[in-house]
Symmetry: C2
Subunit: 221 residues, 2 copies
């Protein structure tokens, strides 16, 4: 699949999972795409826990539901009504869940380029997750990132050691459709910011020059 | 460009930058690819500061050099000799530098899915950086991520407000080549881990089953 088509067509999937199994060969391919991501000092700090066990999935789902209700309480009435129409996870429907972690001890304490910004260890793992997401799209697999959860609770469920960082809980499966637009845009939760509003020149707050601005406003991939 | 070719051919570039200018049209295109990344609660928290000013680049380079020397002191003699052969940044050679930030205040305090894991704000920005990196590769542009720096020093140089997170300092330009293998592998700094070693099943530490293991060991993209 063309890179730009994968980027444009990728969605955060919660609603459209099918139970069709994923071949090990396809799973291995998208994990390899993730593993080829850049990492600080070439430290490759990631691990991927492939979860198919229904009991484990159910425990995670219960934790997510607890956190969903907590969040719901923070919203005003209008926003809460809208939130109730939004499905936030497809844990049980997706045939595979993947927990992604970051091990800061890999390749010793002095990883090149990490001392000044220790968070680049976690960031490296996140770069791998985007590769995984795009590769999944190229294989017609939908993926969703579920973050309504207490990290320590998930670490306990999955037996993740205390020195290893929990980064993400992902759901993966074939889908009935990839929606045209992100669900949170379709439902009117948020809107897409104009590209030109997130670009500055040379210093924070400096608007781009006229020529670049025009290209930002007409950019297409 | 095919997604898998972009993933395989992407490199962290420090040594091979050419001074050839980058058209605004091309720059806008890869920034759009970044802007189409997923983000927690669709919050799109990123900003991209496009830096061409030589004085600003020089100030950043001086800071990076300070941090390079600090790191060098931590290494034993053999490792230090090897480190001295590794170029860690191409700040002045790359025609464009890009500072990437994350604004946690965007779309209000209650971003959907962020309360339990506030770091997903920064993580969203990192997902956008991987899109940018792959799109750059598709446009034959090399990119390097420079992390030998004190974040606060860079925020000061670029006038980034205190509540906005500094995430990454990137260098971008056309290149004389994309090396076959990562430079840190070529130089013998680190080696590529086997994919099967970073994958577990259902729980931390559980090796994948035989069938999946075989596919992981023979995976190709």
């Amino acid at each position: 699949m063309d890179l730009y088509d994968a980027i444009k067509g990728r969605r955060d999937i919660r609603s459209y999972f099918k139970s069709d199994p994923i071949l090990d060969e396809v799973l291995a391919k998208i994990l390899l795409a993730a593993h080829l991501a850049p990492s600080v000092g070439y430290s490759q700090p990631w691990n991927f826990i492939i979860i198919r066990d229904e009991n484990i999935k159910r425990k995670v789902k219960e934790e997510v539901e607890r956190q969903r209700l907590r969040y719901r309480e923070l919203l005003d009435e209008d926003r809460r009504k809208l939130f109730d129409t939004i499905k936030i996870e497809g844990i049980m429907e997706a045939p595979i869940n993947i927990a992604v972690t970051c091990d800061p001890s890999r390749f010793g304490p002095h990883v090149l380029g990490r001392i000044t910004m220790p968070e680049t260890c976690n960031y490296s793992t996140v770069l791998a997750i985007e590769n995984l997401w795009l590769a999944a799209r190229a294989e017609n697999l939908g993926m969703g990132w579920v973050s309504f959860l207490d990290k320590n609770k998930i670490k306990e469920i999955l037996g993740i050691p205390s020195n290893v960082e929990f980064i993400a809980y992902l759901t993966l499966g074939y889908v009935t459709k990839f929606p045209e637009r992100p669900e949170l845009e379709e439902k009117g939760w948020n809107y897409r910011l104009p590209l030109s509003e997130v670009v500055f020149e040379d210093r924070w707050g400096n608007k781009p020059n006229e020529k670049l601005l025009e290209k930002l406003n007409s950019a297409k991939i």
